[in-house]
Symmetry: C2
Subunit: 391 residues, 2 copies
């Protein structure tokens, strides 16, 4: 069945919301429902939606808005406070995931180049899925929440730098200076966005001097969001990083709460397209082979164990419960993994089998994370308070 | 220069808002700024944005949200009250515009088929631009405002039926029953949307019984909006008609004001893509020929005069000022005209010249309407109240 674009939009949105509602009633986060709705509607099962270019752009805007919202909830100071620990968690997690992924792929009999790309697809925690899960669990505004987000942002950037290295070396065009340049650009971009963007936005607002168009602060915020997303994209970072930084730049303005009330419906409307389309990318048919299932299972274990061990790097003084939350929060892989796998597939560096294993790992880790987080939240570091004595 | 999609989005949005702000400061409506921003960024001048498929889908969602908002401000009863007058204005306006347009195109030396399509492109008032102008002038919630909207909705439907007739007859495949079927479908759709949709939405809300996902009324509203847009599209009507009817179905629910507060930012964010892209469709180069300018000028005059005369059909008891407002409000041609011209061009029924003349007419009438409306609002039917006597 070939549906018109507007019919596909209607179907995706309705399925996402209904499945989300069902999942919430079952005690699961809504995001799982949206992902499963995508699997059901996608080419593997119903075949009613196809990840066409317009849908992908809409999905991209949806995830950009979501990360902007998360940024709005994050004060730069809060992120600075978790900086050292987040970096440690990110670096250890990246190293373990990459090493483990490489070993797993080679052990399953994949070639060197393929294994390098599979390993690269494993390193980055999904900022968008983590952010969504943290928001649903009201954890964004907590110390561990910020630590997870900070580490996820850092390993996204590390993942993209790693991609530049792996792609360059397998093509035989690796130039050290281009990798150094990308890393320097990423650092400079983050520094500029955190230090300079808030001032520029303030200056533009002054320049307008009591703007006449309705909801002008919202319009300025959306300009900052799209502008920094495009800027991030231009220098080779994921656009969601720019969107997050734009939100953070506005987290300290007096319009923050009004902005959140205005941007939240926008996120409600647009982000389901991202999660449903992510679900629709899985090809169940490619999972028929034992080798693919083996690789998928192995790299899923690596993905989970790698980040669990990385959570130890947060420092010995952290409570067991907080470490468990960090470990669970870092599990989901997402857009960077998909980007790496899709790029490698289109360049012929990996085959359909390795691609499907990566996408399956992305889906399983994403489906796993919310339940793992729920379990972690129940972990107690202390004995329970004594029951009240009966009267 | 080839910009990435996200960079085009950032550019379109920022240009729309800045140009809108400038226009409001010059005492003009913001929508003119958005249209001119499109002309400036489009292929004719800067060439920075291209009406690619993703941008067109985004623009379509933007105009769907806008018409949904206008629907939210329109009670079905209000529209019923203007029914007879609106139908009279619509029918007279369609007949005059079609006749005048046919004469103008034949007089400028265009062939019969081309002239038929040019005339068809002239009949329908642009619901979206009219709605935007009425909103900016705070006229949606007035008697004339509703009359204009009602007439614009009716002539949109008449225009699409006329297109079916003209396209069928020039292809030699005209079947009376298919035209009758389209007309019947359109009527049945409007009747169902007005009478049944509110109940279905209410029933779904009951079924959910205190939904658990956040902002559930908003999610339901967006489902209704996308669902009815897709349904309208499926039976051959413009999707904006479905969106308007969905909004109207929800205009009487208790969530109305909260919904408006949530949907307005969505409209602010998405509708600029529609108006900028409309502006970007104009090809200044094709306007170099005297014949094209002649046709464009003639059909623009027909477009204005046709609706001015049609406003007389509203009835003799209307005040001069209200008639002037109706005449001005019905001037802009838009999406239906563009749809007709684009379809005819892609089928080879009209050439680039006639196409450009139609698009120029759409742009000029759209740019003209806000100023005409402002003038009409100043028209007085009574003598001014006497100045207060000096003490």
């Amino acid at each position: 069945m070939m549906l018109s674009t507007i019919a596909q939009l209607a179907l995706i949105f309705a399925a996402a919301k209904v499945a989300g509602e069902v999942m919430v009633r079952l005690g699961q986060p809504a995001v799982i429902g949206e992902l499963l709705a995508g699997v059901a509607l996608g080419p593997s099962i119903a075949g009613w939606i196809h990840p066409s270019e317009p849908l992908q752009v809409l999905a991209q805007i949806g995830v950009v808005v979501l990360l902007f919202l998360v940024g709005l909830e994050t004060h730069p100071d809060d992120l600075r406070k978790v900086g050292v620990r987040a970096t440690a968690v990110a670096v250890v997690g990246v190293v373990l995931s990459f090493g483990g992924g490489l070993g797993a792929a080679l052990a399953t009999g994949f070639g060197g180049t393929e294994s390098l790309f599979v390993a690269t697809a494993l390193v980055a925690t999904s900022v968008s899925i983590t952010a969504r899960v943290l928001r649903e669990s009201n954890l964004v505004d907590t110390y561990v929440g910020r630590l997870i987000l900070g580490a996820a942002l850092i390993d996204d950037i590390l993942g993209l730098i790693l991609l530049a290295i792996v792609a360059g070396s397998t093509r035989g065009t690796l130039r050290i200076w281009s990798v150094v340049a990308l890393a320097a650009e990423a650092l400079a971009f983050v520094a500029l966005a955190v230090l300079v963007a808030p001032k520029i936005v303030g200056r533009i607002a002054d320049l307008f001097d009591r703007p006449r168009i309705p909801r002008a602060p919202f319009a300025l915020a959306m300009m900052a969001m799209l502008g920094l997303s495009a800027a991030a994209n231009t220098i080779g970072l994921a656009s969601v990083i720019g969107a997050f930084l734009a939100g953070m730049a506005l987290a300290e303005t007096r319009d923050r709460y009004q902005l959140m009330a205005q941007v939240e419906p926008l996120g409600d409307f647009l982000s389901p397209f991202f999660f449903v389309l992510t679900g629709a990318r899985i090809e169940l048919a490619a999972l028929g082979s034992g080798r693919v299932i083996g690789l998928a299972a192995l790299i899923t274990v690596v993905a989970v164990v790698g980040k669990a061990v990385a959570s130890l790097a947060a420092g010995r003084d952290m409570e067991l419960r907080d470490r468990a939350i960090i470990a669970a929060g870092m599990i989901p892989r997402g857009e960077v993994g998909i980007i790496v796998a899709a790029l490698a597939l289109s360049e012929g560096a990996i085959g359909k089998q390795a691609f499907s294993a990566v996408i399956a790992m992305v889906l399983v880790t994403t489906l796993l994370a919310p339940s793992a987080l729920r379990l972690a939240l129940k972990t107690s570091t202390r004995t329970d308070p004594p029951a009240l004595p009966l009267a």
